[in-house]
């Protein structure tokens, strides 16, 4: 039990995917200008990250490892992720327009979010078990969502601040992310 807790704390706070591990930064910077969109992205990512973490575990464990073709890891993981994401998108689009409204437009973006492939590869590297993989993926997603949502609320404030012209937009966003990462260094050593 505590193992899973540690994985969770580790992925959410200490080794936060975005601020410490540098994964999933493009959507972090790109989709965080408004709180609503950030929330949509966070939700969608949580879903995909957890799912792909689990799926890639299965692929690795039951296809790649038995056949001894580990070098196909990247290509098969990415295929699985892209396929799962696209299936989800199409089904959600039809089945629940409401949910699609919330998640739909973010789903395709997630395929090329390196956090997703990152989580799959890190799972293998850390030799996580099935359940650990799921917790790891979920924790990574929660960490992503947490900083994403906090960041978006900050950006809404910064958007109306009197930021020097050269720093408006991306630069101040990056600087804010830097200072957030600075603050997250406080969690170093927790786990």
């Amino acid at each position: 039990m505590t193992d899973y807790l540690f994985i969770l704390i580790g992925t959410v706070l200490v080794n936060n995917f975005v601020l410490v591990q540098f994964l999933g930064l493009c959507p972090f910077m790109g989709v965080s200008k408004k709180r609503e969109t950030a929330m949509g992205m966070a939700l969608a990512t949580t879903f995909v990250l957890t799912l792909s973490s689990v799926c890639s575990y299965l692929v690795n464990e039951y296809i790649l490892a038995p056949l001894g073709v580990e070098y196909l890891r990247t290509i098969s993981f990415i295929l699985v992720i892209a396929g799962v994401v696209q299936l989800t998108e199409m089904i959600v689009h039809k089945a629940s327009p409401l949910l699609y409204e919330v998640l739909g437009i973010y789903l395709p973006l997630i395929t090329t979010n390196c956090a997703v492939l990152g989580v799959a590869l890190l799972n293998v590297r850390e030799q996580n078990s099935f359940l650990e993989s799921a917790v790891y993926g979920f924790g990574a997603a929660v960490g992503f969502s947490l900083v994403m949502i906090l960041f978006s609320a900050m950006r809404e404030r910064i958007a109306v601040a009197d930021v020097p012209a050269a720093f408006q937009g991306a630069p101040i966003g990056l600087i804010t992310a830097g200072l957030m990462s600075l603050a997250f260094m406080g969690f170093a050593g927790l786990v």
Partner: protein, 655 residues
């Protein structure tokens, strides 16, 4: 809001959230008695002095008018008449600067007074000293005809508030004698000097709204007024009326705050006091209502304060509506130097005047002329430091700083999410802001922006409807035309195709090609259209002025086509004498085709599409029939039948 269920007794005083203790500056003007202001040389009477539609003039330039005569009649339900406040001649009905924060002009009736103050020989209203005989609806009508509006600030036509409606249950009438704004004392002296009118007015209004209790809320810094009111009530021996002393705390006099203080109930957002069984009037309104009903006096004058550090002799006047502010300043001994700011209304809610030529209106309770020391500097704002002081004092429980940030960012949606429209513009927040931000102006800015956006939205929705309506009309016309045409052509084709199947096939092939090029499935109706298309295409090659061609070459839309055609017409005539654009049939077909293309995915209520669908169905039927030729398409007869049917269907759907 558990208190809502309880009785309104006036025994307990609740506290409203926030609010401020302000220095009242009331002694400046409250010591002397009310003085009657003389008749000015000119009276300027704006047509819009109340909330709701402006009144409509019923006199003309040159007319002689008498005191109390209706010179403008209400226009619509939420509107009131306007009466001449003295006798004289109408010299102008024109735009004059009026009392408005914008400093803009608005329609006014200008009367050159004759100094005689002659009343109408037969008053328009009938006096009803014993109003208890009257049924409430009659009462309300009298009040309306007397042009009475709320004197407490908003100038809302009072008769509406006397008309709670059949289902409404009024627990209590509240008379607002709080007068919480600094400097203003008109209600204070009115209560002191005319307590009897107020008390009787209270009885009258209770009768009108069928209320069983009346609470008069007065701030505890007005002891003389409280005593006078109590005396008057004792004299009437009416136990239903009670003076409730409330703490001096701005904005105690705000309707919502006073209701909360006296009853513990909250007026729901976007609701009315009536929703919680309360009706609230200003004390002056009560007196005016009473005089209007029992003495047939319309609202042509009111008590108001002229005060401020820059006024030599601050005092209260009984002023005719329409008197220019400059006259009042002169009457108060003039000003000491130029006032730093001339404000109509109180220092917390009033607005700065850009000119002293504007007239006093029904809503004017105070003219304030301030010295520099009494005035906030125009420009010394710093950025908000989010100290939250503003939120501490906001009586509406808002987060003024967030309203400010969103208004400043022009993020009007967010401002509304933060309940911008629950802000009563009391100014408490701005009064405590260490950064000296003109917060209220930001809210007013945001509110007017939102109203404009709403106006624009309404207008654009309306325009969309009208545009769609027009499109439908054009569609219908096209469909009818086309149907006629199709029938004619089909008849024609029946002969020729029999004779020349090859030519027919070629035409069809061409048509289909044209269709698929534009992404549309080939179908019999389109067939016809496309055949004419070759001709119509000629239109598009005609050289046109670049400036006016944006629509013509790429468009699928009939309006645009029409527009483009109109624009290009002259050129076409010159450059291509054979241009078929003048050919009504070709043009009509081109448009119809365009229409069909556009509408083909909106199957529901489109006659053309319906026709197409029917024709297609027909085609499918024929396809499956074994004795038919391979495709219905190849059968001119069947095609003709389909077309005719489609035409009929189109007509039917169109009607």
């Amino acid at each position: 809001m558990s208190a809502a269920a309880g009785m309104v007794t006036g025994a307990k005083v609740w506290k409203f959230p926030g609010g401020l203790k302000l220095n009242g500056h009331k002694t400046l003007s409250a010591t002397s008695a009310i003085e009657d202001a003389p008749i000015p040389a000119y009276l300027i009477l704006p047509l819009a002095q109340h909330i709701g539609a402006a009144a409509k003039p019923v006199v003309e330039v040159g007319d002689q008018v008498y005191k109390g005569q209706t010179i403008a009649a209400p226009d619509g339900f939420v509107s009131t008449p306007i009466h001449a406040s003295s006798s004289g001649k109408v010299v102008a009905i024109e735009e004059r600067p009026v009392a408005h924060p914008s400093g803009l002009s608005a329609m006014c009736i200008v009367i050159e007074t004759d100094g005689l103050d002659t009343p109408l020989s037969t008053p328009e209203l009938e006096a009803h000293p014993d109003y208890s005989e009257l049924d409430p609806s009659h009462l309300r009508n009298l009040v309306r005809q007397a042009g009475v509006v709320g004197l407490g600030g908003a100038a809302f036509p009072s008769f509406i508030k006397l008309n709670p409606g059949p289902d409404a249950q009024v627990d209590a009438l509240i008379l607002n004698g709080a007068e919480c704004e600094p400097y203003i004392t008109c209600d204070q002296v009115l209560m002191r000097e005319q307590a009897d009118d107020i008390a009787r007015g209270a009885q009258l209004i209770m009768h009108a709204v069928q209320a069983t209790t009346c609470l008069i809320g007065v701030e505890d810094n007005k002891s003389e007024s409280i005593a006078a009111l109590n005396k008057a009530i004792d004299a009437l021996d009416d136990r239903r009326i009670k003076v409730v002393v409330v703490p001096t705390r701005y904005p105690q006099g705000g309707e919502k705050q006073l209701v909360q203080a006296l009853t513990g109930r909250e007026v729901p957002s976007e609701g009315l006091p009536l929703d919680i069984g309360i009706v609230c009037h200003n004390v002056g309104t009560a007196a005016t209502v009473w005089r209007a009903v029992t003495r047939a006096e319309p609202l042509i004058s009111r008590v108001m304060t002229v005060t401020g550090g820059a006024i030599k002799q601050p005092r209260n006047f009984n002023v005719r509506i329409g008197t220019p502010v400059s006259e009042l300043l002169a009457l108060s001994g003039g000003t000491q130097g130029t006032p730093a700011r001339l404000v109509m209304g109180g220092p917390m809610m009033g607005f700065a005047l850009t000119s002293d030529a504007v007239p006093v209106v029904k809503a004017t309770n105070c003219i304030l002329a301030t010295t520099e020391a009494e005035t906030a500097p125009v420009e010394d704002a710093m950025p908000c430091i989010r100290c939250g002081e503003c939120a501490e004092v906001c009586p509406a429980g808002l987060l003024p700083q967030q309203l400010y940030w969103h208004s400043r960012a022009r993020d009007l949606d967010r401002a509304q999410e933060y309940k911008l429209f629950d802000c009563i513009e009391c100014g408490c927040c701005a009064q405590v802001c260490p950064s000296h931000i003109p917060l209220v102006q930001f809210y007013r800015f945001a509110k007017t922006e939102i109203w404009e956006a709403e106006r624009d939205k309404r207008k654009s929705n309306h325009a969309r409807e009208r545009h769609e309506f027009r499109q439908d009309r054009l569609d219908r016309e096209e469909a009818e035309k086309k149907a006629r045409l199709a029938a004619k052509k089909a008849a024609l084709k029946k002969d020729t195709s029999a004779a020349n199947p090859v030519a027919e096939a070629i035409a069809r092939a061409k048509a289909r090609k044209a269709e698929t090029a534009s992404g549309q499935p080939a179908d019999p109706v389109a067939d016809m259209i496309a055949q004419a298309k070759a001709k119509a295409d000629g239109n598009k090659k005609i050289p046109e002025k670049p400036a006016s061609t944006e629509n013509s070459s790429s468009t699928d839309d009939p309006v645009a086509a029409a527009i483009a055609r109109a624009k290009a017409k002259a050129d076409q005539k010159k450059t291509d004498s054979a241009a078929p654009s003048d050919d009504p049939v070709a043009a009509a077909i081109a448009r119809a085709k365009a229409k069909a293309a556009e509408k083909s995915d909106e199957k529901s209520d489109d006659p053309v599409a319906a026709a197409i669908a029917k024709a297609k169905a027909r085609k499918a039927e024929q396809q499956s029939a074994p004795e038919e030729k391979p495709t219905a398409d190849d059968d001119p007869v069947a095609a003709a039948i389909a077309r005719a049917k489609a035409a009929a269907a189109a007509k039917k759907d169109g009607d």
